[in-house]
């Protein structure tokens, strides 16, 4: 059914886009995303991918171009990072409000200044309120799987879909990935469809409308995104039947009997799992709830899974003046302690997590007034000059 090899996250995403029989790709290069569209350009050039590759002069144009092709009924893809994402921000909202299905991969990268190419999840999470479906990969395999899942889910609910993956830790890291043969992807991913067809009758897209239409459309989008929870459940089960790999909304790791629960997303979750295994050897009852999707956010499921546990939310991002963005989200359903760490790509590994989780379980985290703890303390205490 599949071939096992090693690939970087960027290569794996390009391969997933090819297997999805994507018809239009438009993108503007930005580190660390560039390799994705370089690979796709090579595939189009060599005939491996039968798609239109549109070179554009900016990220705003990249998303505008695939908006156009997606509206016209073509399976479309783009990718970006950080400042590129911010530059296309107007189109982010336009695409979601227009209910256009397409897929974009965001290789998460710090927003400057200072100029910084390393991972941080704040760029991806600036899309939180826009109406996009937002997923986040833990490893190269998930980046591959989520990209394929993305086309299916996006086209089923008529909402744009983004999958995030960490700069360098996934985008440039080669690791084991089980690829899929074309026939299995074709079986899982039917031909591109959408809720209207171009026919004899002329119609306009994105024109001016009465306020009541606008209000109704917003509520429709809101409900469609909430309803996507069930669609992700269904689609990820189907994908699991084909591949044996689940890409559902949440992943529980040693959570059942845990008294302490960590909530997080992204590539560093793997380090946290290794740390949890170490602490379990010392009989510390700690587990992990990994968020694979930020929108839709399954609040009720999260509440149920975390009920009665001491909760620690780890953020690699920040909502200025409020807290970590996941912290703010999770506090919608349970009480939680919130740590912001790894900002600007600061390396956080297994030993850091062991230390962090131990201090948390011992109740020794001195939380500041706004309820957020910035880790590691020595960076902030020293006051870098």
């Amino acid at each position: 059914m599949s071939g096992r090899t090693i690939m970087t996250g960027n290569q794996a995403v390009a391969e997933a886009v090819r297997l999805a029989r994507t018809e239009v790709v438009a993108a503007y290069p930005i580190t660390p995303q560039t390799v994705i569209v370089e690979k796709l350009a090579e595939m189009v050039d060599s005939g491996l991918l039968d798609a239109e590759f549109i070179r554009v002069e900016s990220e705003h144009s990249a998303l505008a171009a695939v908006y156009g092709s997606a509206v016209a009924g073509k399976r479309s893809f783009t990718a970006t990072s950080s400042h590129g994402l911010l530059y296309m921000y107007e189109m982010i909202w336009w695409v979601a409000n227009a209910r256009v299905p397409l897929v974009m991969v965001v290789v998460t990268r710090t927003i400057g200044p200072p100029w910084n190419i390393h991972t941080d999840h704040t760029d991806l999470l600036t899309m939180r309120d826009s109406g996009w479906i937002i997923a986040m990969a833990e490893n190269v395999q998930e980046a591959f799987d989520l990209t394929i899942n993305g086309f299916r889910i996006s086209e089923e609910v008529s909402l744009p879909y983004t999958a995030g993956m960490d700069a360098f830790q996934l985008s440039h890291t080669s690791e084991v990935v089980d690829l899929l043969e074309q026939q299995y992807v074709d079986e899982f991913l039917p031909e591109r469809r959408q809720s209207y067809v171009f026919g004899e009758e002329a119609f306009t897209v994105g024109c001016i409308g009465p306020n009541e239409y606008t209000a109704r459309l917003r509520k429709d989008t809101f409900e469609a995104l909430k309803n996507t929870e069930k669609v992700v459940d269904k689609v990820s089960r189907e994908y699991e039947e084909i591949t044996g790999r689940n890409c559902g909304l949440l992943e529980e790791y040693r959570l059942d009997d845990a008294e302490y629960a960590v909530v997080m997303m992204g590539a560093w979750s793997g380090d946290a799992k290794d740390a949890i295994d170490e602490l379990r050897k010392e009989s510390l009852p700690i587990g992990l709830l990994k968020l694979r999707y930020i929108r839709p956010m399954p609040y009720k499921k999260i509440q149920k899974l975390l009920d009665g546990k001491q909760v620690l939310v780890l953020d690699r991002d920040c909502s200025m003046g409020a807290g970590g963005i996941l912290g703010v989200e999770v506090k919608n359903c349970v009480e939680a302690t919130n740590i912001i760490a790894g900002i600007g790509g600061i390396d956080v590994g297994v030993d850091d997590f062991i230390k962090m989780f131990r201090v948390f379980s011992e109740g020794k985290l001195e939380v500041e007034k706004n309820g957020v703890y910035w880790w590691p303390p020595e960076i902030y205490d020293k006051g870098m000059r």
């Binding site: 360098f168 830790q169 890291t173 080669s174 690791e175 560093w268 390396d347 030993d351």
Partner: protein, 175 residues
């Protein structure tokens, strides 16, 4: 068992590619592997760190390697500018492109020069080093050769595979 390896090379020596070749070879041996380039702007001539993880089980962590089981040093001069001991576990070992100075030694530069593996005046030592490392790491010779042939094509693939084979046989304990 998880083994963590750090490759120290100068930009342009191919340390990143060596890590990737060895990861691919390990996967061909039925293992799990991960190759991480140093995160940043790699420049020709500057010191570059690459990370390689090998394991019998899926590798979940993505952080950098602070204390390695093995440090592989692509240029003898690096021994003078990096505190190797500081990044090596007590029971760890080194493998160095030199006649002496490491736990394992291989004259990868000589192998590369003999095969005319030269680019912009430098011997390209990464495939010879990959061959020597494969031996000390328990990766099969056939796998590292195949990984090289999957990575390059034509005559380049053949010559690099030969470099790896020679180094695989010639690497020795030098203390």
């Amino acid at each position: 068992m998880l083994r963590e390896i750090v490759i120290l090379s100068f930009g342009g020596q191919g340390g990143v590619t060596a890590a990737r070749i060895l990861a691919l070879a390990a996967v061909m041996d039925g293992k799990y592997a991960q190759a991480i380039p140093q995160f940043g702007a790699e420049r020709r001539g500057s010191l570059v760190k690459s990370y390689l993880r090998l394991s019998d089980e899926p590798i979940r962590r993505h952080s950098s390697i602070k204390k390695a089981d093995v440090v592989s040093i692509f240029a003898e001069r690096i021994l003078n500018i990096v505190d190797i001991k500081n990044m090596l576990k007590d029971e760890g070992f080194t493998i160095v492109n030199a006649e002496s100075g490491g736990d394992f030694c291989i004259n990868a530069s000589k192998i590369a020069l003999n095969l005319n593996l030269v680019s912009a005046g430098w011997p390209i030592v990464n495939t010879a080093m990959a061959g020597a490392m494969a031996n000390t790491l328990g990766i099969r010779k056939e796998s590292v050769v195949k990984a090289i042939k999957d990575t390059f094509s034509g005559k380049v693939a053949e010559v690099n595979a030969t470099a790896a084979e020679i180094a695989y046989e010639e690497v020795y304990e030098c203390q």
